[in-house]
Symmetry: C2
Subunit: 580 residues, 2 copies
């Protein structure tokens, strides 16, 4: 807060100065007392002045008895998962009632390093949505792949004092923490020195195993899957987030663990929400609504999505409707069946109405993060797949999640030992093509359960290193798909019999686009439709998102990086051939 604005608010509170706006006849959700009260809410210079009283205001807005709720705070997300640039993301989520996000830009930083951090800060600086960043702690995620950058403590030091950088992003390297890996400890130390937050990521870690991780000062966790896990992490002093993403959905799993007594330690987050999920279901308000519809007291739930996140991240200027706080709020007719924002105000100005953005965010030129595809010597020959045996390891897609099975099977090989696709078997070739450093790395493997009969699909989103990943039954379509992505600087594309079936361009780091959400979802819907209809992809899975997770070597069981087939449980590379 500044003295100048404070003095204006004092004058307005005392009736010595006209307010900008009064919202009349509101049912204000008081997240501190956890109750609802009726009031006129006065606003000046984007901030709340106070309630009722004989004050004047230049403009009035009649809430007509609707609920006035603090703007929602997404406690942890990756904007990149929306495929949208920060400005388009703002236009997309503000209508859902999200007015503040704490974002970890670790996807773009894996591709473009500090340029990604600089871009995300700049592109989110003057937009209606408040964007705070956590500096990504794990770039690259593992040493088993080539990412676009390596970010260590000296890089963190360059950004962590920025007032919009609230600390260190999710520390996924749990083993590095408990083994006191010096590189990890140096990163943590940057946050210790400044008493800034460190977000956690500790799936299934509980009990005594959790002690060392918690003792390292990890502030939050968003990877709980059971009420017991939530309970244990709260006990260990962590704030726990109820995550409702597109792939990972934990609200209903965790809800039985939330009660009035521990609610002040629980937040909401979206982590990764795909564009279609935002369009169809909403953003933070979706998880929040789910919790309410499944029995959580609405005001308690709202306090978790507002006040608690503000407290956890030290955002003392928001999270409640009170004098001196930001006038970020939602008007809605009901809170008992979830939160559907009818109007969203940011800094006291109408920003969205009935799901449509009004306060469109200005765009920022994507400097240093656009379109570079440093792929060396790519050719059909690089897609060669010659296992040393007909008995092979196969990545088994498991619908509904990002875990894969470590499968096996029998294949046919030609006279050169090259894998032969068999129409009657749902086994396809998967390849990962390094795109950051021109290493020329291409790794191939076999994958089952995708359903596609003929053609190729390629994407430049492949967690966390975001190399190009391509799936197909024939090298020709696969090469065309990869070359298309190289030509356009990244995105999603599909080929069949040499013909392009559809392409979705992601010109920012191969991850995001500066197109509006509607265009993105329209294009993706058409492509989804074609993937199912023309390529025959299994309807049990998402044709594109499934591929995005096939290169992630920290999720069991069998994955493919640009360096080869990786057995996650053994935490080492493995051979495609099974030597009997």
């Amino acid at each position: 807060m500044t003295r100048e604005i404070t003095e204006r608010l004092i004058d307005a509170a005392e009736g010595r100065r006209e307010c900008d706006l009064v919202i009349r006849n509101a049912k204000v959700v008081d997240v501190c007392n956890k109750e609802v009260f009726e009031a006129d809410v006065y606003i000046l210079s984007g901030m709340i002045v106070g309630f009722n009283g004989k004050r004047k205001a230049r403009a009035e807005h009649d809430a007509k008895g609707r609920f006035l709720i603090p703007g929602l705070i997404d406690a942890h997300c990756h904007i990149e998962s929306s495929h949208l640039s920060p400005s388009e993301f703002s236009d997309a989520v503000v209508p859902c009632g999200t007015t503040t996000v704490i974002a970890d830009p670790h996807e773009i930083c894996n591709v473009t390093g500090l340029d990604g951090m600089a871009y995300m800060l700049k592109a989110s600086e003057d937009i209606p949505l408040s964007v705070f960043l956590m500096f990504p702690s794990c770039v690259p995620a593992t040493p088993f792949e080539h990412a676009g950058a390596i970010l260590n403590a000296p890089d963190i030091e360059k950004y962590i004092d920025n007032p919009r950088v609230l600390g260190l992003g999710e520390m996924m390297n749990y083993p590095g923490v408990i083994s006191k890996d010096p590189v990890v400890m140096e990163k943590l130390e940057t946050a210790y020195k400044r008493r800034k937050n460190i977000d956690g990521h500790a799936p299934s870690i509980t009990g005594t195993s959790l002690d060392g991780y918690a003792a390292a000062g990890i502030t939050t966790d968003h990877e709980c899957e059971t009420p017991e896990e939530l309970h244990d992490k709260v006990r260990k002093g962590m704030y726990v987030m109820l995550r409702e993403g597109t792939a990972c959905r934990n609200v209903l799993q965790l809800l039985p663990g939330v009660n009035e007594r521990n609610a002040s330690r629980i937040l909401f987050c979206t982590d990764d929400r795909q564009p279609q999920s935002i369009v169809n279901d909403g953003h933070v308000n979706y998880g929040l609504s789910l919790a309410i519809r499944n029995g959580l007291d609405p005001v308690t739930a709202i306090s978790m999505a507002t006040l608690n996140a503000a407290i956890c991240y030290g955002l003392s200027d928001r999270g409640m409707i009170a004098p001196g706080k930001r006038a970020d709020f939602i008007l809605t007719s009901s809170i008992d069946n979830g939160i559907e924002p009818e109007e969203v105000f940011i800094l006291g100005k109408l920003a969205a109405e009935n799901g449509r953005i009004i306060a469109k965010a200005p765009h920022t030129e994507p400097v240093g993060v656009s379109g570079k595809m440093d792929v060396k010597d790519f050719s059909e020959e690089k897609l060669s797949l010659r296992p040393g045996s007909d008995h092979v390891r196969i990545i088994d897609i498991i619908p509904g999640g990002v875990v894969t099975g470590n499968g096996e099977g029998w294949i046919k090989r030609d006279e050169k030992g090259e894998w032969i696709h068999e129409d009657e078997k749902d086994i396809l070739k998967l390849a990962v093509i390094e795109r950051h450093h021109g290493t020329g790395n291409v790794a191939t493997a076999l994958i089952r359960g995708y359903g596609m009969r003929h053609g190729a699909v390629a994407v430049s989103i492949a967690h966390d290193s975001h190399n190009i990943i391509v799936i197909g039954d024939n090298n020709s379509d696969m090469v065309k798909a990869v070359e298309k992505l190289i030509a356009i600087g990244g995105g999603i594309t599909m080929y069949k019999d040499g013909r392009e079936l559809g392409t979705h361009r992601l010109e920012i780091a191969g991850l995001m686009t500066d197109l509006p959400l509607e265009d993105v979802t329209k294009c993706l819907s058409q492509m989804h439709e074609k993937a199912y209809q023309e390529l025959g992809v299994s309807k049990e899975i998402d044709p594109f998102m499934t591929l995005c997770f096939m290169a992630l070597p920290v999720i069991p069981s069998l994955k493919l990086t640009d360096c080869g087939l990786f057995d996650v449980n053994a935490f080492s590379f493995t051979d495609i051939a099974i030597k009997d």
Copy 2:
């Protein structure tokens, strides 16, 4: 937290390093889930490592099923009110389970200015009790008196970046805030710039009147007297403290306003507790126990006295029993009827046992804050009291509080117009002698209800400027009492017929002593006894504390400063004589 200690904790959590101590068979009070669980608690380097598991420890301590509670945090106090130096205060309150205090040294700063701030920081630096300070915001409290110092924004700037200075102390100048007094706003601005806390002090201010004060970013309030006031201040975003001091006791008044839904916004504080209150009833644990005995859930109450205060003041290393947090805790057999600490541990070491201090605090030489009494030309003549009428204004003592009545009455005067004491009337002379700047100021007035028949009592504690205040029926004893205080550098003394009945020396700024609590209370008890028995002071009042508040011109109705008789309701000086 530091990397070095964190690494040790991680090693210990993983069983790679021996712990210092394990507390076996404890019922741990989990203030995050608000429940109790049974565990062995491992400790290393003064911090909690974790619970249970196959770990080793050099020493064990059997809790025998007792409750293990986080060390209590006093969210707002003035150490000076205990009459004890910080080291002796530590010895006094640690046995009560208080392990952290947030102290506003505004008494000593009113006497000695920045030297007082420096002394309080130094004297509390390496003692078992954790002492954090709020920089006093209102020195002097009013312009109607001479204090020892004037502290403004440039003075605050010198200290506010100290990591043990958490912000600005109670902003008593409510009118200054809402009138945007530039001097006040400059002070507030020092906290705004650093996003530090600003404690509030807003007795009876609610509704629209509160908006401007809350909008100024005031973080807390400890002056609520009704549940409605508490409720309104919580609504306006402030943390509200349940205060249980010696004179001001609000726990029972406010308790009906506290419930499970707003409990996370409520803290406990003592504000001003006299030495006898600490000895007889305890410290923060007294207010906490009172709340529990009157129906507040014990674990909720404990969370208010621990976690909530830690959150409010950003003390992320304490307030709960969890890995990586300070091993400050209490062991006690029961929590259902209040908290009587049987053992108190600080940084994992036994600090007190059954009410006795074990970890005695080292003393600090009181440099720049000792004994100076700059009183100029004091003589019997200065005590002259010649009202211009027999009909006079009289300060009426009202037992049980610090408010006085604006009384009147008829007196006798001698031929020179000098007031004559009448044995049958309970009217005495009160005088305030300026002691900081040698102004020679002495003001006199009449006071009723003290009960003393013959003699004089003088004290050098007189809120907030702490000039010498003396009461008596005759000038001779009054002069002797004042001269005694000047000679010893401050304290409390009583005279009768020229004979000293007892003296309690307060050699640090005339407010505190470096003697142990037991000596202080023993001396004070004897003096209380003599005041009642030999001087005939009314048993309805405390003979010394009553005097301490007679010079405080912000508490209604009639008070006396070194500048004269002050009508608090009219907020101006007034005449003793009533001109009919």
